[in-house]
């Protein structure tokens, strides 16, 4: 049974933005996700890597049900979750599962521990609420379950009656993870869960995620821009740039020999202790605007290996090694 847990085909998300007055507005679109095929295997710890404009957060939003795709389809556990039927542009969005149904399968953990918890609710109430709303158990049982979740995520039981502002950001982030676990999801999407934490506290959260992954068999989609964090946790890596997938491979293969020029640049640009990046590996230029993405390969404007053919057509993802896919015509 090698069917992926999440199967994404041809996903596109365009956000319309209008500038100027209503009457003669220029309709421009942000091409946040521009054609992505991606599979998440059951039980894997997958890192989705990209800088700003890569579309990684939008992609996660589509999987979690926050964002409605413009085209493409997402299947979860073999069954369709959301799909856009019909030809491009005129597609009809079919929502196969309600947000409530999605909730018990896919949960998302967000970046900012300070706004992710309702400041007026006590921690215990925040954790008990999903249990009660989903009718999963009685009040008494919920109380017990909250205790178990606090233990599971390493939070002292006495924090039960506290308000979020009384916890430090590491503790808050753990509560956020505990809350996501209340509905026993199969897939946990963590969107930059440690970016806003002090370095000395990042280990707590990363170790927790790894423990949950191992002990509960939780499938984790870890979104980040920081490759050094990816190195510590991921089984597999997918790199996105300007709405498309550039490379997808196992973490070992990625860190020993990244194939896509953008991947190489990302690795070279990641700060390391007392190790200066080689100048030749640093790429010049800026990330193009997602409103006017370049024709052809999105990385062509900055790629050290660019040739005229790169700008003609978008390179397809092709295999260059055992389960290593690259979207580059030079590699």
């Amino acid at each position: 049974m090698n069917e992926p847990l999440v199967d994404i085909r041809g996903l596109v998300k365009h956000f319309p933005i209008s500038r100027g007055a209503r009457i003669w507005s220029e309709r421009e679109t942000v091409h946040a996700v521009n054609g992505v095929d991606l599979a998440i295997q059951r039980g894997e710890f997958l890192a989705l890597v990209g800088e700003s404009g890569s579309g990684k957060t939008t992609l996660a939003g589509c999987i979690a049900g926050f964002v409605r795709p413009t085209a493409g389809a997402i299947h979860f556990d073999g069954k369709p979750l959301v799909e856009v039927q019909g030809a491009n542009g005129s597609g009809r969005l079919v929502q196969h599962a309600s947000q409530r149904q999605i909730a018990t399968r896919i949960q998302m953990v967000f970046q900012d521990p300070s706004s992710a918890l309702n400041p007026r609710h006590r921690i215990g109430d925040t954790l008990a609420e999903p249990l009660l709303v989903h009718g999963l158990m009685s009040k008494a049982d919920a109380r017990k379950r909250v205790g178990e979740l606090l233990e599971l995520t390493g939070i002292r039981q006495s924090m039960w009656g506290r308000y979020p502002h009384e916890l430090n950001s590491g503790q808050r982030q753990r509560v956020v993870i505990a809350r996501a676990l209340t509905v026993s999801p199969i897939l946990l999407i963590a969107d930059e869960p440690v970016s806003k934490l002090d370095v000395s506290m990042q280990g707590q959260i990363l170790n927790l995620l790894l423990d949950l992954h191992r002990q509960l068999g939780l499938t984790i989609l870890f979104i980040t821009h920081d490759l050094s964090v990816v190195r510590q946790v991921a089984d597999r890596v997918i790199v996105m740039y300007l709405g498309r997938v550039m490379e997808a491979c196992s973490a070992d293969a990625f860190f020993s020999s990244p194939r896509h020029p953008y991947s190489e640049a990302l690795v070279a640009s990641t700060p390391r202790v007392r190790a200066e990046p080689e100048k030749s590996m640093l790429i010049k230029g800026e990330i193009p605007s997602p409103i006017h993405p370049p024709r052809g390969c999105p990385f062509a404007t900055r790629c050290p290996l660019v040739i005229p053919a790169c700008e003609q057509a978008v390179p397809p993802l092709h295999e260059v090694g055992p389960s290593q896919l690259v979207a580059c015509i030079r590699r």
Partner: protein
Amino acid sequence: MRSAEMAETVLARPIAAPFVTTERSRLERALSDRLLIVTGVVIAVYVLVGLIGPLIAPQNPYTSHPGFNFHPPNGHFLIGTDKEGRDVLSRLLYGARYTLLGAFGVMAIAALLGFVYGLITAYVGGWFDSLSMRLFDVILSFPPLVLAIILVATFGPGLYSVIIGVGIGYLPAIARIIRSEAMVQSKQQYVAAAEGLGFSPLRIIFKHIMPNTTSQIIVQASMNLPYAIIDIAGLSFLGFGIQPPTPDWGGMLAEGQRDLLFAPWLVIAPAAAITVLVLAWNIFGARLRRAVDPKRY
């Protein structure tokens, strides 16, 4: 969960918490605030007077005592008489109910309805929100009393028409402020998390967003009360609201202004009654906000 547990247990000494622990419930915090209690009692007294005013008034407020017009305070008429020779104290006690009904009625419509409307339209957004905002623009483009006059003219004069008229006049401004605050909250990640957990919009609006906007609504309700009293008085004065000879503090204030120089008690009495109420109401509101917000303690 050894690794995460370690984070909590391997501390040589607990770190001093920057905030006082909020283990007391909100009710406990409220009850321990003396100022809150005092002002609360004052408001309760006003409400009591509103309810039993007629029973404790020494005189009939409508009875004129000819020959005693503009009589200064004395043993018989504790706050003196007005131009018709009527006992001011009795008029004050009788009038409490109308003033209070008017003021709180307006606040009920403007603040409560405005609150709910603001919350809903902020979260729902879309065409409903756009339509609501345009509707509010229309209402706000009327000078406030003009709107009330138009509504009163439609429904006929009387206290209830005035309450509805003034209330609708205040509603858009309050709803807008709550809407802004609610929109800010809607963008917070805890709302996204609640949506991700499959909670219904109703639950999100009232259990999640609303508690974070109560601070604002308390401010709005406090701030607008004195204006409500004055506006009702103004309308009554123009003949649209409470019809004379029915006593009403705002009306008494308006009438007494003309004769301020030689019968100051006619103005001082209702003014003092209104001022004390507004002061108590505002302080009560401020202390209530403090008690209700877990961070302020």
